[in-house]
């Protein structure tokens, strides 16, 4: 039987999920192995070295850089407050002395006799890491952070904006095709992860921000709306640091496109449960996709068969979705996988496959233009 591999997104109802929560620089780990943690619990914290403020003392005191060290009132390593006297000139016969004071609080890092600069390191900045997903601490990485594990329902989206957030799942659309419009969002959804169906409109996003929702998850989004939401035209798909008031994830793509039936069904099944959501997307070597992680109730067991990711083998009868025009969004089953390349409408040669849709329509598409979906 003809087969091929195609990449896809991970959508699984039950998996043992591990998440490493690591500080950017070494610090103190606050939890131990075996501890149960909630999504918002702080698991590790540290202090980042403060910002650097160079002060050109030579210029400020109108003296040659080489004279700066002997005019310094403090030494390297000394702490200073905002306004602390740093250096003083010798003056004329001990009179008319000029002084210079620190502009910031911190520690004197270096005193240069070449440039006359004094470098002050600001007060340390606190950095905390939360658990993000509730579960059990299964590993402590000394001085760095922890690994949290839990049985979860795990869904990857195709594109997102905004970073990590947590909230209960609130269903706003009854079926995967339904458009998520502003009138489907109610005040009770404040703090929730709102799940739509097909395309989410720009107005719906505005309304969700207004009521203080944590996140929106829906099938598609118009690029014109994305530009309005962000305030600029997104050039490269490297996201996660946007501050628009919520996290937004689309599971399928841009335009009018229904959420995958299975994804919608899974999210509906977990309505009301807490979900950890991250819109961070990086489409580069080492791709990062946005994710929706729903911790499962204690003691839940994986279903026997329905535990496969959408990544894998392509063969006849595999359910697939076309991901490029002219059949963008079409869902069907692989009918044939001819091994010889064929000439496309564009006159390029490529390997193709035949897809038959539910209503019997049969189309030929390049293999590069489909992705596997799971029922």
């Amino acid at each position: 039987m003809a087969q091929a591999y195609t990449p896809g997104l991970k959508v699984t109802p039950h998996t043992q999920h591990r998440v490493r929560r690591i500080l950017p620089i070494s610090g103190t780990v606050l939890k131990s192995v075996g501890d149960r943690v909630g999504a918002s619990d702080v698991v590790a914290e540290t202090f980042m070295p403060g910002n650097i403020t160079p002060m050109n003392v030579a210029n400020m005191l109108s003296m040659p850089p080489a004279d700066v060290p002997e005019c310094m009132l403090l030494a390297e390593g000394d702490t200073v407050e905002d306004g602390t006297m740093l250096a003083q000139t010798k003056g004329i016969f001990g009179m008319f002395k000029s002084t210079c004071a620190s502009r910031v609080a911190g520690t004197i890092e270096t005193i240069s006799n070449v440039t006359g600069q004094v470098i002050i390191r600001g007060v340390p900045l606190p950095v905390q890491v939360t658990a993000y997903v509730s579960g059990e601490v299964v590993e402590v990485i000394e001085g760095e952070g922890v690994t949290v594990e839990n049985a979860v329902c795990f869904i990857q989206g195709i594109f997102g904006i905004g970073g990590e957030t947590v909230g209960p799942i609130a269903m706003a659309c009854e079926n995967p095709e339904q458009e998520l419009s502003a009138d489907r969002i109610s005040d009770e959804m404040a703090g929730a992860v709102i799940v739509g169906g097909g395309r989410v409109t720009g107005d719906a996003v505005k309304r969700a921000i207004q009521i203080g929702a944590a996140a929106i998850v829906s099938g598609g989004l118009d690029d014109a709306d994305l530009r309005d939401i962000l305030g600029f035209d997104l050039g490269v798909a490297i996201t996660g640091s946007e501050r628009i008031g919520l996290t937004l994830i689309v599971t399928e793509g841009f335009g009018e496109i229904a959420m995958a039936e299975r994804t919608h069904r899974l999210l509906t099944g977990h309505s009301g449960r807490e979900a950890s959501v991250n819109g961070t997307t990086q489409i580069r070597a080492g791709v990062i996709r946005p994710e929706i992680v729903i911790p499962l109730a204690a003691g839940s067991t994986p279903p026997e068969s329905d535990n496969r990711a959408t990544e894998g083998l392509l063969e006849t009868n595999t359910p697939v979705r076309v991901i490029r025009d002219p059949y963008f969004g079409l869902i069907g089953q692989v009918a044939d996988l001819p091994s010889e390349p064929q000439i496309l409408g564009s006159e390029s040669r490529a390997r193709v496959l035949t897809v038959t849709s539910a209503d019997g329509e049969t189309v030929v598409v390049p293999r590069a233009n489909i992705e596997i979906i799971s029922e």
Binding site: F159, D222, L234, G235, F254, I283, L344, S348
Partner: protein, 595 residues
């Protein structure tokens, strides 16, 4: 018998070069996925796989039982020389610093780009950024290497030490783990070496090389480039998985891929005494290389590409500008969504003619923007004292003029997916001409199977073989473009032509706005006499006739009367008609099929 590999970020390509009838020819090629990432995490596995494919095709044993390249060659097995380039693991990522952004920092950037690096950021004392912001930037970027320059020899040392004082406390962390020290190269004022050494502690690996700008009037990039290559091998590559093994296999140092491409282009330009421009357009980035009067320049446009960066091309160029190149109407909302869908699923390919033509329109704008960036970067030195005569009083020209001169350009070489894989060669030629807008008489070519990196390294150890293969197997000549500079009203005469050769004898006139394609086979040449109208210049001066030998190719002879700079009609209907006429004239597509 020479074996060469190029370890790209996704594919490792191997080629075999053999002597056939007294000439070096590329005979077989193979490719396999690059194996830098887990689970293989050993680059040599991809190399062995691609070489094995070559070995099977050539019916010659090239890999021994220990999985190593067999050398030297015998009657039946092995090769005499094995060389390799690499851009795996994201290539060489550098940060450069100089005192003045337009002077020493620009020279440092040129040195790094010329060495094949991706320049992540440039830091200078005259930046708009505050010092602590600059330090934060160095911390976040995690480059593989830092190049610091500044000051002319014997000049003031203060400013360059100030730059070092910014870099030192940032304690930049290298990408590949913590076990190796960040290489920092100092190529500035020689008098500043002592204080620079005192500024850095043992957390960095400091190397001192000759000043890359010893005087304002002179750039000396060689020593800095060589040091970048040495450190690339010793530090960056040596820490990438499997490279220690690969380094021990090769007969010449492994080069970063773009550096090798630059090498071969430079070699060819020097040898033939021509000015050349090469372009490589990928999914995320576009590299432009140029050699004008022997001066080599390279730029990397980081966010101009055809998949990962396609949305950025649309944002920078704007959709209406891209649609100017499309001979039919398209819905803007729909197109925006299509572009974003390509960005999030970068591996999809155009299935319909409509979709292909839109992608090629995007490619034209990506190439145009990359060339604009290249022209801005490839300049004469800034800060040079100039003697001005009274005649210069009203000319505002200062240092920093671009050295890229489209009229002086002789050879334009294309490579990269959208250009190499275009279904019709005419499409490749049209994209090149529309984006780069060569003036006068220019030969067009494309790299057949992206062999330039292999030949770039080969040129260092066996120049003769490299040049022969480049000429015979690497380049596919598309033909020649004749395009006078100037403008006039559409319909007026642009130039007259008379072309005679073995299989061609044509004469006639080209009107302003007209495009004509004459067949001239690959390997054939013809004598072309071009008589431009009063407002047009084909290289000999306005209105002056010129006779030149022109080269044929798979496309032929493009007679371009659209004028330079090439301005498309503003009215959408008129523009669409013009683009339709050009599409038909060049045979770019069968537009009737769209209806």
């Amino acid at each position: 018998m020479i074996l060469a590999t190029d370890c790209g970020s996704t594919t490792t390509k191997a080629i075999l070069i053999e002597k056939v009838d007294g000439e070096y020819r590329q005979t077989f090629r193979g490719e396999a996925p690059t194996t830098v990432e887990e689970p293989a995490a050993d680059v040599t596995m991809g190399v062995v796989n691609s070489v094995t494919e070559v070995a099977e095709l050539a019916d010659r044993r090239l890999i021994d039982d220990n999985g190593e390249v067999i050398r030297p060659a015998t009657e039946t097995e092995g090769c005499d020389l094995y060389i390799s380039t690499s851009s795996a693991g994201g290539g060489l990522q550098m940060m450069v610093a100089g005192v003045v952004r337009e002077m020493t920092a620009a020279s440092a950037k040129r040195a790094a780009l010329g060495a094949g690096a991706i320049v992540m950021d440039t830091i200078a004392t005259n930046d708009k950024q505050l010092p602590h912001e600059q330090i934060q930037r160095i911390r976040e970027l995690r480059p593989d290497m830092i190049l610091i320059s500044g000051g002319t020899d014997g000049g003031t040392t203060t400013h360059v030490v100030q730059i070092a004082e910014l870099v030192a406390p940032a304690k930049p962390q290298p990408r590949f783990g913590g076990e190796y020290r960040m290489p920092v190269i100092f190529a500035g004022n020689v008098d500043a070496r002592e204080p620079i050494e005192a500024t850095f502690d043992e957390s960095v690996e400091l190397s001192l090389v000759d000043n890359l700008r010893p005087t304002m009037e002179r750039e000396n990039l060689g020593p800095a480039r060589d040091m970048i290559h040495d450190l690339f091998l010793e530090h960056v590559m040596a820490h990438a998985p499997g490279y220690d093994k690969l380094i021990s296999w090769t007969d010449a140092p492994i080069m970063p891929t773009p550096a090798a491409v630059g090498n071969i282009l430079q070699q060819i330009a020097t040898q033939r005494g021509v000015n050349a421009v090469g372009v490589d357009i990928g999914g995320a980035t576009t590299d432009v290389f140029s050699v004008f009067d022997g001066t080599f320049n390279r730029t990397v446009s980081a966010n101009l590409g055809m998949s990962y960066s396609i949305s950025n091309v649309c944002a920078e160029a704007t959709l209406p500008k891209i649609l100017q190149w499309v001979p039919f109407e398209m819905d803007e909302r729909e197109l925006r969504n299509r572009v974003k869908n390509k960005m999030i699923r970068p591996t999809t390919i155009p299935q319909t003619l409509e979709s292909l033509m839109f992608e090629q329109a995007v490619a034209r704008e990506a190439l145009r923007l990359a060339y604009v960036q290249h022209k801005e970067f490839a300049t004469t030195l800034k800060g040079v004292q100039q003697q001005r005569t009274i005649g210069d009083t009203f000319s505002q020209e200062a240092g920093g003029q671009t050295i890229v001169d489209n009229m002086a350009l002789d050879l334009l070489v294309a490579s990269g997916g959208v250009l190499s894989h275009a279904p019709r060669m005419q499409q490749t030629a049209a994209m090149l001409v529309d984006a780069f807008q060569p003036e006068g008489i220019t030969t067009l070519a494309k790299d057949s199977i992206f062999m330039m990196p292999h030949l770039g390294v080969l040129s260092q150890v066996h120049a003769e073989a490299a040049v022969q293969v480049f000429e015979r197997d690497c380049l596919i000549y598309l033909g020649t473009c004749v395009a006078p500079k100037g403008s006039d009203k559409p319909g007026k005469t642009c130039f007259g032509f008379q072309i005679s050769g073995k299989s061609i004898d044509a004469r006639g006139e080209i009107s302003v706005g007209e495009l004509k394609l004459l067949p001239l086979e690959d390997g054939e040449t013809a004598e072309a006499t071009i008589e431009p109208a009063r407002n047009f210049d084909v290289g000999a001066g306005a209105g002056k006739a010129m006779t030149r030998t022109v080269r044929g190719g798979t496309v032929g002879l493009m007679l371009d009367g659209r004028g330079r700079p090439l301005v498309l009609p503003e009215d959408r209907t008129v523009c669409r008609q013009a683009v339709t006429d050009w599409t038909n004239a060049l045979g770019l597509a069968d537009l009737a099929r769209l209806n």
